[in-house]
Symmetry: C2
Subunit: 484 residues, 2 copies
């Protein structure tokens, strides 16, 4: 191809993805609940910018409703589970996690069996998708430009591999950052980056650092978020070559983390990583005067100044100038809305990273944490009074809001930019660290360290031998002389 044509082609491609024409084709492998709510913000924006977005959704989907009026396309596929099966499974997962004993060791040991249950469920759905020939043919024919997935719901990376389409992840975390570290090669220091689920901060005492290290060792060598043996076997069968789940996940071109430095402890990054936390936050719209979300029978004791709603727009409520505090279970989406609007929090974390989330805003002085199991009515009232009446909580929340709003470009725009970048260039190879081409012992320089130690040992051995040999010779000569 001549240079003229090449340049023209490059130019056309650039114009295409920057204009509002429907140029990009995005395939989405979503995860339910709050993950979907966050992902949908990105998808809506992609649609607004003229891209064609197709979401794969099963017949048992819970929140991801293909019948919602939307410019997003939904590709519904049948699975052998019902919506009730899936909902009960998720409820079981959440209930079990919430019930996990607070003890350090019990928690660590219980987590594994819980994730095995979740892994098997996800694998079942993935198998049904991939074996659905009609669906796979349709996806092949659609010629997508990018696959968008979440690390906590595998299968997206397999679809990307089968369809030969670059992959972008949107993620909050995986337990112990294990996937991020093992697949994404994200550098990590156990000395000042608390492993997620540890509930530690970035300023740790000696014993906290020991605890963090034990967590790292546990997540590295004992814990498996997904039952890897089963997944590795399935991925290898489908792709027709020996591979692993983690290797396939590691092919992701870009990693969008749903967090930012107002909330997250500063930690090492890579060029193909962006922290886009709070991308769903926006200025609030006006609200009616008094509000109360309640899903059930209206209590008899309710005063006439309290209105009941089944659901209210949380962002608008948090952005209301009279909102004094936010009582939250500590989900990342809600916390970011409170941060964006500078509202101090009372946290009642339930499961997953919620305790870590609350600890983070607590460490920044913008929240009080309570334990839902053990707190009394007075504890709750005192906590609420504290965040409302002690001005430091409001000041700190306002500071987090300032940091969140003071970025060179908005998180949503950054997310869209890098998804479009991957579409434009069929990947982001220039941002990919060479760490992906190393084995684990090469990555940790174990072979090099071993070789250098062997060299030093050999040198010490040879020098010692020579020295002893010389000493002996010297002694023999001495003896000989004495005899003479």
């Amino acid at each position: 191809m001549s240079m003229k044509w090449l340049s023209l082609l490059l130019l056309l491609q650039m114009t295409c993805f920057f204009s509002s024409g429907s140029c990009g084709k995005v395939l989405v492998w979503p995860v339910e609940y709050s993950h979907w709510m966050n992902m949908k913000i990105i998808l809506d924006e992609l649609v607004t910018r003229g891209h064609e977005v197709t979401v794969l959704t099963s017949s048992a989907s819970i929140l991801i409703d293909p019948n919602t009026p939307s410019a997003i396309k939904f590709e519904n596929f049948p699975i052998s589970l019902t919506k009730d099966d899936l909902e009960n499974a998720f409820k079981h997962f959440v209930r079990k996690w919430t019930d996990l004993a607070n003890s350090f060791w019990t928690f660590l040991l219980s987590l594994q069996s819980l994730f095995e249950y979740y892994s098997d469920l996800t694998l079942k759905i993935c198998k049904e998708v991939v074996s659905n020939k009609k669906l796979m043919t349709k996806l092949h024919e659609s010629r997508f430009d990018v696959v968008l997935a979440d690390t906590v719901g595998p299968c997206g990376e397999l679809l990307a591999e089968i369809l030969k389409v670059p992959l972008v992840y949107s993620l909050r975390f995986t337990p112990g950052y294990s996937i991020e570290r093992k697949s994404g090669k994200l550098p990590y220091s156990p000395a000042y980056v608390p492993v997620i689920l540890s509930e530690l901060s970035d300023h740790m005492t000696f014993m906290e650092r020991v605890k963090n290290m034990i967590y790292v060792l546990y997540f590295d060598f004992c814990f498996q978020m997904f039952n890897e043996k089963k997944w590795d076997q399935f991925y290898s069968e489908v792709l027709g070559r020996p591979t692993t789940l983690l290797e396939t996940m590691g092919k992701a071109e870009f990693w969008l983390f749903r967090s930012y430095w107002d909330f997250e402890y500063p930690c090492p990054l890579l060029p193909n990583v962006e922290f886009i936390g709070g991308l769903h936050c926006k200025p609030a719209k006006p609200l009616p005067k008094v509000l109360w979300r309640h899903d059930g029978k209206k209590p008899d004791t309710l005063g006439p100044n309290t209105r009941l709603y089944k659901w209210i727009p949380q962002n608008d409520l948090l952005g209301h100038p009279k909102t004094k505090a936010f009582i939250t279970h500590g989900g990342t989406n809600g916390i970011y809305e409170a941060i964006y609007h500078g509202v101090p929090m009372v946290g009642l974390p339930l499961f997953a990273e919620q305790p870590d989330n609350i600890n983070r805003v607590k460490a920044k002085g913008a929240a009080v944490r309570l334990d839902l199991e053990t707190m009394s009515k007075t504890d709750f009232l005192n906590a609420l009074k504290q965040v409302i009446n002690n001005p430091s909580y409001k000041q700190n929340a306002m500071w987090l809001s300032t940091i969140q709003r003071d970025q060179p470009i908005k998180p949503l725009d950054r997310a869209i930019f890098w998804i479009e970048f991957v579409m434009r260039h069929k990947g982001a190879k220039d941002l990919r660290p060479a760490a992906h081409d190393l084995t684990w012992f090469q990555y940790h320089s174990l072979d090099v360290i071993g070789f250098l130690l062997a060299c030093v040992a050999t040198a010490v051995f040879v020098v010692t031998k020579c020295f002893l040999f010389c000493c002996r010779k010297f002694a023999e000569t001495g003896k000989k002389r004495k005899r003479e």
Copy 2:
């Protein structure tokens, strides 16, 4: 202060640094030659946006001319050296480095003495500045919002400490990334990040990784870019408390690296680090038809179609559509202009990171490298023919150009944003990793590893002892029974 006032104050501050009013006061501690040329781009932009920029320049300054008509203020201070002294010193430094033997070991050993010479020179100037009471009083009274400095020319961090003003670094590299790693706490992996000055790539063979590790060990334990003992003593004296050069440098709020992923091998980052390479590049202006830069007597053999100029605008020349190749010594500024305009290169590196720079563009397929000492006329001609006639060089250079131009915001805008951010918020504490609060053995978790190993050893010892005790008891019982 009430919340209303606090919010108003925050708002005023925000408006101030975003408007074109002269709100920010920037103090600059510059480094000569190409470092100054790059820094000046940032300063000109800061001035354009309404900030007041003051550059500290000595009576012996070479390129930094306080008499140039500019909106930048120059604060000229006398030193006991003349311009000739300084120029000769720099020439000596460059000549010595250029002459350094190509051998791996000789190079490593010669580098240290070369830097000692440079360090003493810089320390002398720094001492004269700090002891200049009139100047220091004036600087104190100016109440600057930020100090801008370059890591290869110390003293800026001391001034920032004395004046109690946040510090931002602009830097290309320091040998072995030693300052970046030790002061900035930039994470580093010797397995896939070649130490600068090693001339290695990010894809290394086993022996190359051994070489890289030796470099790392050398730069960590044997090499000192600045004669640290002298600097530590001086900084401690001035600040009236025991401190070190590296500790003072580590207080920098933000690090602006003059490189980007089109050119740099992807490596770990931190949130308070931005790669802003190529910030000086811009579309080319038209040029006269034929050009030849020549600083001396006009050669007799020169044809009538060749014009001689003492200096030509390199960026405009590289951006000319008829420019086919760029013959370069491999300075970062020039390479970035070639990358921006997609021009393939023939590299004749001289010293410092120039060989690494040329190797980087060579690794990306956009350059041929020659050795100025050993090359023949034919080698040179062949190299030039190769980059002009083999279309892959142009294609790869165009690809680098595409990556350079396809960023969410331009490098210069990013640099300005973070300098303004530091001014607005009197620092960038939220982006600062907690690694800065750890000792070196805590940072590497050596105490934790030691403790865990001791625990394991104790457990093994106790279990073995118990086992042996039981065995003995069992044996004794057996003997007793036998006797009975």
